[in-house]
Subunit: 551 residues, 2 copies
């Protein structure tokens, strides 16, 4: 049986960062990176698409944007000598939400577009965002349940929260679209507490959605984001093994960890790092089995259902027309059941000047064929950008991440309502197994920057566990069980506290007594009023209880 | 390659009923039943436990109760000559909810125990149950979204609904306990719409929880419920193959369906029936892959985390003390983080007179060892039933269904919020593959009776697909795609309808104008009142927006 010091499962950004960090710290370590797919990069993928002037250019079909506060990513890009350029955002943006009308605005987000949306709608947007920010600011990234409102927020979906605080359809649509664009998921399926934690992790809700300022969409990567993984993998050489899916993991306290790969081969290591999405962790067999919390977590973290498209054009005609290429759309019309294709789009004209639009497609179109989706996307772009979106069309490229093996979806796995207690165990080790991957990050979780942070944390955990303690960078143990500040986050305990205010009871009993007096007066026909009210009472009683009035 | 007419995957009640029904209709059919475990019975399991007088008796560690309206189950038990006896329910019941106090009552449910609980609590219970019944009565079992409130109910978890309508902790506890007892799950993780559909499917919420009347816990089975499967399997003889887990399914339109089992063998059939829990369907590989809705469904139906226990005693001492043995408990105390073991219990004294208590354990105790759980259960029983619960103790037997292979949990897989649109596809075929299992039933879904109904439906679907149409019993095609009344249920379309009432806007603008007048008067120091109110304004503004008042 082949035996090494460390096995890393998954050659995405997190896994490759783990291996790279370990080798930087101790070049004598024997390391293997096992990857199920036939490529590295995980949820980043750069492909060639036909562009103007009969040439091709590279476009990102996975993670692609870089923000100004994503320090880990910016540092790694610097080390790997990969350059950035600005995401284009000059000009008017387009939005369809609240009704079928397409509206254009210049503010960074529709919530500030007071001229375009009605005052009532803008007020509603702003209140929603303020409330969300107020809640997310209270969240401790390492222990979400230290906030007193956490248990109630975890019970709710983002959509049921939005329904309870919004007055306009536009505000609900705006939140729905942003959740679709951020997570590739529907607001009704996500724990509100998870969303608040995610916002806090990236700075704030605005930072997740904006291009300007600290927004996550500030820059793009020259030559595409898959380069990050390709360059790291190149340096690792034959330590990276493709087409080697792990099936079974046997681990123990203090002893070695053994993995069985798809062709039946067994490999042994001192420490194992799983740098794969949580939903994929749930598909592995563990011996001894995972604890209850981890198992429930992996059963209840489901991947976003993102379909990403790139359409290349003869020219950036929208720029000439004073538009930024940014579109957000609820994709609903007044026709029952109709869903239009585009969720959101951005200008994707490359640094080489190849004009293009990039965007996401509604998951409802998942079962359509690629050519059907191409038609639907171009038709929807025509709705927003005019007929040039058809006449200048060159090529359509899409990536349906749901059908990608060893990912299950993109961009991120999210937590369903009621499972945030289990999420608190996401970084916990399982005997000799460590967990990396962007979902396990503390800062910018779900983004490339978070993947790098998680990889560095896992690498430092491994160094700690291998007793190479002088090599450990304690800064990167944040959130790890080896951190000196670690205390296991407690799920909400739901114990009995002091009695609630007696006023509810008092009001109830006063009402009951008044009702009693009324009922007695009615029974003995003490007044004409009582007789007059009888039919009303009967119908109220029937509406309330579903039963006939007792005789 | 071995080739048969029909392969049934899963030798639980649903799978065996499918095979049995097919053979009854056409004895010439070549049928195979493949089962991953080394036993038949699925989520029913009868074991021997040591009892009084140094003997042993049979106890059910899985599904065990029979209700008066479970016609399919009653008919099958009659055919198999299996007898029933009443669930014991004479005497006072015990409940701990709302606070630490143990309260006893004689009504069938605490919601009617007006002497024991305060009037305020009982009123709250009753309102909750009435509201839930009113909603569930509106649900169409074959198309949950035909009810106008369905989309909003699907966005919510049962717990967030309960929090919004309950005034007392007791009422919330009562609902939490009933959800734990019915589904082995927490209310905060379940779609409210799924719960309402489940209630409707079994009659009403009361029917799922009661022993009396049409309650699901009316009878027990002499000799245990696993007999049902054992007797059916015996009649099927060597058509049932144990330890044969299916891994891969290759199917096509009109062509044969091929399955690959764990040891690599391939089998071919004309039609395949998957009679396994939805969460297990999600672990199989399909080629061509499942559609988006089915895949999302299987990703988001998670199993209940039930741990069931039986404790045998020297005597039924609780009966002598005038207690029925029925306990329901929130399991919470005023100590933060403390969780007591027992969720609910019933008298389990067998028809042979072996005294015992059966019940469920909180999923939070999942990672404890069996002996730790034994201690916790007995200690908790002592709290309710007195010291005899310890002094007369004979044996403890438990079944942790979470660690059971090929089940993933018990008693039933439930739907997480926002996924009921996907649930509507649960009975839909995938080319040559049919789906059975109690979750796919229309009536009494989640119960043994539903398993039988689903097996009969799948069998009739197969007969229909094999063009043996004169043998099809159309009554059992209810909910099937072959049913003449079938129309595909539509998910909520969320299209734009007429504008909402203008009153919200009017009130908003009136308030805004009044606020404007007030602000102007304040700016120009028009009154002393304005100056007096300045500190209040500042603190309200800061609380609301988190920002300082602009100067």
């Amino acid at each position: 049986m082949e035996s090494v010091d460390v096995i890393v499962v998954g050659a995405g950004i997190a896994g490759l960062t783990t291996a790279r960090t370990l080798l930087q710290k101790d070049p004598s370590l024997k390391i293997l990176v096992l990857e199920g797919k036939d490529r590295v990069g995980g949820r980043t993928l750069t492909v060639n698409v036909q562009t103007a002037n009969h040439t091709t250019d590279k476009f990102d079909m996975g993670g692609q944007w870089v923000g100004r506060t994503q320090k880990e990513l910016l540092a790694l890009l610097d080390e790997l000598k990969i350059e950035l350029y600005d995401q284009y955002e000059t000009g008017r943006k387009l939005a369809q939400m609240g009704n079928e009308k397409i509206r254009s605005y210049t503010a960074s987000l529709p919530i500030f577009a007071a001229g375009t949306f009605s005052l009532y709608e803008v007020f509603d947007f702003l209140c929603n965002v303020f409330k969300m920010n107020r809640m997310s600011n209270k969240i401790n990234l390492l222990d979400a349940f230290s906030w007193e409102g956490a248990a109630a927020a975890d019970e709710q979906s983002v959509a049921s929260y939005a329904r309870s605080v919004s007055y306009t359809r536009s505000a609900r649509d705006a939140l729905d679209i942003s959740i679709r664009a951020i997570y590739g998921a529907e607001a009704k399926r996500m724990s509100l507490l998870y969303h608040l934690l995610y916002c806090k992790s990236g700075g704030s809700f605005m930072d997740l959605t904006e291009i300007t300022g600290n927004g996550a969409q500030a820059f793009r990567i020259k030559g595409g984001s898959q380069q990050i993984s390709l360059k790291m993998a190149e340096a690792l050489g034959d330590r990276v093994r493709l087409r080697t899916a792990v099936k079974h993991i046997e681990t123990s306290e203090g002893g070695p960890t053994r993995v069985t790969v798809a062709n039946g081969d067994k490999l042994e290591c001192k420490r194992l790092v799983l740098a794969i999405p949580p939903n994929q962790c749930g598909k592995l067999e563990f011996s001894p089995p995972l604890g209850y919390m981890k198992r429930r977590l992996y059963d209840n973290m489901t991947p976003g259902h993102l379909i990403k498209f790139v359409v290349t054009y003869q020219s950036s005609f929208w720029r000439a027309e004073g538009r930024s290429g940014e579109i957000i759309s609820a994709g609903r019309t007044s026709v029952p059941g109709e869903v239009l294709a585009v969720v959101c789009s951005f200008d994707a004209t490359t640094c080489n000047g190849s004009p293009a639009i990039v965007g996401f497609i509604h998951a409802e179109l998942h079962d359509w064929t690629a050519s059907e989706r191409c038609n639907a996307v171009v038709k929807d772009l025509v709705r927003f950008l005019g007929t040039k979106a058809l006449s200048e069309f060159i090529a359509y490229e899409e990536k349906n991440w749901n059908t990608e093996p060893f990912n299950g979806g993109c961009p991120v796995d999210y937590v369903t309502p009621g499972n945030m207690d289990a999420f608190m165990s996401i970084r916990d080790m399982h005997y000799g197994v460590h967990f990396a991957g962007t979902e396990t990050a503390v800062v910018w979780m779900g983004y490339m920057s978070g993947a790098i942070e998680s990889g560095k944390r896992a690498a430092n955990e491994v160094l700690y566990a291998l007793e190479l303690r002088d090599k450990v960078d304690h800064k990167y143990l944040n959130g790890s069980q080896f951190s000196v500040e670690y205390h296991h986050p407690h799920p909400p305990s739901d114990h009995y506290t002091d009695s609630p205010s007696p006023w509810r009871r008092r009001i109830f009993f006063t009402t009951a007594v008044l009702f009693g007096i009324y009922a007695v007066s009615k029974k003995y026909d003490l007044s004409y009023t009582a007789r007059v009210f009888r039919p009303v009472e009967k119908s109220v009683f029937k509406w309330w209880t579903g039963m006939e009035w007792p005789h």
